[in-house]
Symmetry: C2
Subunit: 479 residues, 2 copies
């Protein structure tokens, strides 16, 4: 090998198990996933991370098509008065709004959208006239801005983020309820089958229900540090907004009715979930289904055999086209440097090809998730890669599933709850489903929140009030 | 047919040739392409129009891939001081900036991005260190905001719009120049081959060059009302921004160099171009390559034969899956109503299928662009549709090309220029390429601007100053 080749790659200097927060910060920077913006609380989504988002979008756009939801785009700026129309919604979002100064069009302030219910439903009230206009199903992919006071963390919590927000209108309550449930199931599939992240699916407590909604369904993942992460929510809005924004239709009975609505969304936070759930001490580990490039080919180049090896590499590159391989043929970096770089960046499979492999018509295949090396006969390569990618996808999920299952527990007293929370668990407790009660538990546990609730067949005593209840709440520390 | 079916569809009440402005306004509303927003100067992009944008995105993302440009996302808000760094850029954008009030993070105002050069190049200065880091090629699809003072028009000119902005960095001037030219050629292909809109390609005059750029290349279309429309621009930024934002790299010569840059973009204005260029008195006419649904199937339903006809329609629907057909099987609307609706919405081909067609194993095919009906043997359907779509795409382009060619003229005096501009022409005149001179011509012609300039082999006299020059400017009224 020639001199001057870059030999060492600056990897992660902290172990995930030692300090996950610092590990995450380093990984996000070093794998070029995000960078800090000049304005506090904002982030730059770099191409390596944006590619994950595009994979998610491609997948979910197909689901939207299947659900007959159509994409559209509504304005960034919303008149302040719109937020004030629905009381709960107004209360929920008021602290997070950012306003634009130079509105020359009206005396009223214009807020940058934190979510688009109000501006969309203003239009819906014009578009919906008859039962023939229903269902109306619209989604938008856009940026939203919430002027958070908490500390920000790339992907997990930033003032601006990207998301999809779906807003459907129906003629009946059943349709709206069904839609809310259908969407949350689709979210679960997205997380589990695409991102390889197992989730709990359930209803939000009254305290955690979306501002203005009747019911909120959620999917919750558990990160390796024992903090829960809300990964998507789906709301049955009932007729709250329809009544406020006058979304009414003439039914087949020729009478006027208020419509029933749902809204639902997930955000670029899912990128953070992928990083945290699967990453290891070497860097990012991408589930194959959200990896834009599923393979990297690293030819082992020596002066004498370089041409032959490169030629073969390019040939393999073509054969494996459907996996969108990267051919790393840079001559100014050593193979070792390249191995580390692509491990850091999480490419699911690395193929090594040297002059001796050529003679033997074989190829070295290395799995990113386990680091396991395998020598493959060239003619079996495409088949072996398909199988290995499937296996990586499956084992990432299973590993996370095992972890999640091992961390679900229950408690019968505040002391037990606190103790189990400190072990990074999701803890089931009986709780009277009231914001006041929940606030007290939150305070006593130092910030744990109920991620979801379920109705139990058996009654138990609320760990805060001692009252009998059949509501079980899942408490955890969370992002 | 049953009673109560909707029989009449409210179509356009004005002819395109009579009053194109009113025609456009009606079409945009009635074909559900856009709606007005509650905030002045903003628009809602409805699903029928957003689907055109998605087709453009799908196509252009493949081009970006081929050019090895990667998508990313930068923050919406930009510190005011960033704009002030590059003097020309600052001057160009200052009047159009909207500021956010509640910045608690700094004393300085935060502007909503009107374009992202400054915030992206701040990051680029950190990311580019060595010649090994070049080229750096990043694009983003996002919303931008320009607080325009001119009257707004959906898609054509609004305060907020969607666009792509590409920002590439190179080690040499030649690379940057080549990239600028390559991109503008790709834009031309997008317009001509996908949107069926012929364009002129050329360099912008000094007055019209992008704020901060060395050279701007443009593609210009001519709308049927004789106004030119700038459809995309590609800038060679030289080293202006690299020097201001300190984007430097260590070359192979181990010395520090300022980088060379390009930026380029097109916007949702292209949707407006499609509407204006091809629409007719019946409504929108979509070029097949940007039609999400290339076919609509309208079964002719009578009580007795309804089941049979519907069954056959569904079967055809499956056969024609690759054209993404709509099956309009609503029973509460008459066929006539449906014909008008889908004409209004611009679906390239309509298929009619009645009980008699079933017996004869035939189908009626109607072209949106010409209205021509044809009876097709069922077994020839898929082939015939492919051919017809190709033919529609081709004839839309040719019709527009003939129009454009017929409207390019030249003038040798101010009087002649004005007279030919009033005929809705693009007029070539000799002009000294200076902002002062161009301003005077603009004033004297009542607002015509130079769309592009070219260097002539022959010299001529500037129509404003009388000086000898070999610059020819293309003047037109414009959007």
């Amino acid at each position: 090998m020639t001199q001057n080749k870059k030999q060492t790659q600056e990897g992660l200097t902290v172990k995930k198990s030692k300090d996950m927060s610092e590990w995450y910060t380093q990984l996000v920077q070093k794998a070029e996933l995000a960078d800090y913006a000049p304005v506090k609380g904002f982030m730059i989504i770099r191409p390596n991370a944006y590619a994950i988002w595009e994979k998610i979008q491609d997948y979910f756009n197909k689901i939207l098509d299947k659900m007959e939801v159509r994409n559209a785009y509504f304005p960034l700026l919303i008149p302040e008065s719109f937020f004030k129309k629905e009381a709960q919604h107004a209360k929920g979002f008021a602290p997070e709004l950012a306003y634009v100064k130079n509105s020359d069009t009206s005396d009223e302030a214009l807020a940058i959208r934190p979510t688009s219910e109000t501006i969309m439903y203003d239009s819906y009230s014009k578009w919906v006239r008859s039962h023939r206009d229903l269902p109306l199903k619209i989604n938008q992919w856009c940026n939203v801005l919430r002027w958070e006071v908490k500390q920000t963390k790339p992907f997990m919590r930033t003032r601006e983020f990207l998301w999809q927000e779906g807003h459907n209108v129906f003629a009946t309550e059943e349709d709206a309820e069904g839609d809310m449930m259908n969407v949350i199931q689709e979210y679960k599939k997205l997380l589990e089958a695409q991102l390889a992240i197992p989730v709990l699916l359930g209803r939000k407590s009254r305290a955690e229900t979306f501002a203005g909604a009747k019911t909120t369904m959620t999917i919750e993942a558990l990160m390796p540090d024992g903090k829960a992460l809300q990964c998507g929510t789906s709301h049955n809005l009932g007729q709250n907004f329809a009544k406020t924004f006058d979304i009414t239709f003439k039914g087949e009975d020729e009478k006027k009715h208020a419509a029933w609505q749902t809204s639902w969304g997930f955000s670029t936070r899912l990128i953070g979930a992928v990083i945290m759930a699967h990453g290891d001490d070497q860097g990012l580990v991408l589930p194959p289904r959200v990896a834009k490039n599923q393979i990297v080919i690293v030819p082992i180049l020596f002066d004498k055999t370089q041409d032959k090896v490169l030629k073969k590499s390019k040939q393999i590159m073509k054969t494996l086209g459907k996996f969108n391989p990267i051919l790393d043929d840079r001559i100014s970096y050593s193979p070792g440097w390249k191995f580390h770089e692509w491990e850091l960046k999480g490419i699911p499979i690395r193929i090594e090809l040297g002059p001796r492999d050529l003679d033997k018509k074989q190829i070295t295949l290395v799995r990113r998730d386990t680091g396991k090396k395998e020598i493959i006969k060239e003619k079996e390569l495409a088949k072996k890669i398909s199988e290995t990618l499937e296996d990586i996808q499956k084992s990432l999920f299973e590993k996370s599933k095992k972890f999640l299952d091992s961390r679900i527990d229950s408690a019968e007293s505040m002391r037990e709850l606190k103790s189990k929370l400190s072990e990074g668990k999701i803890v089931k407790v009986y709780m009277v489903d009231s914001p006041d009660v929940e606030d007290k538990i939150k305070e006593k546990t130092g910030g744990a929140t109920s991620r979801m609730v379920e109705v139990s067949k058996k009654e138990g005593r609320c760990i805060e009030t001692g009252e009998k209840t059949n509501t079980i709440a899942y408490f955890a520390k969370s992002y």
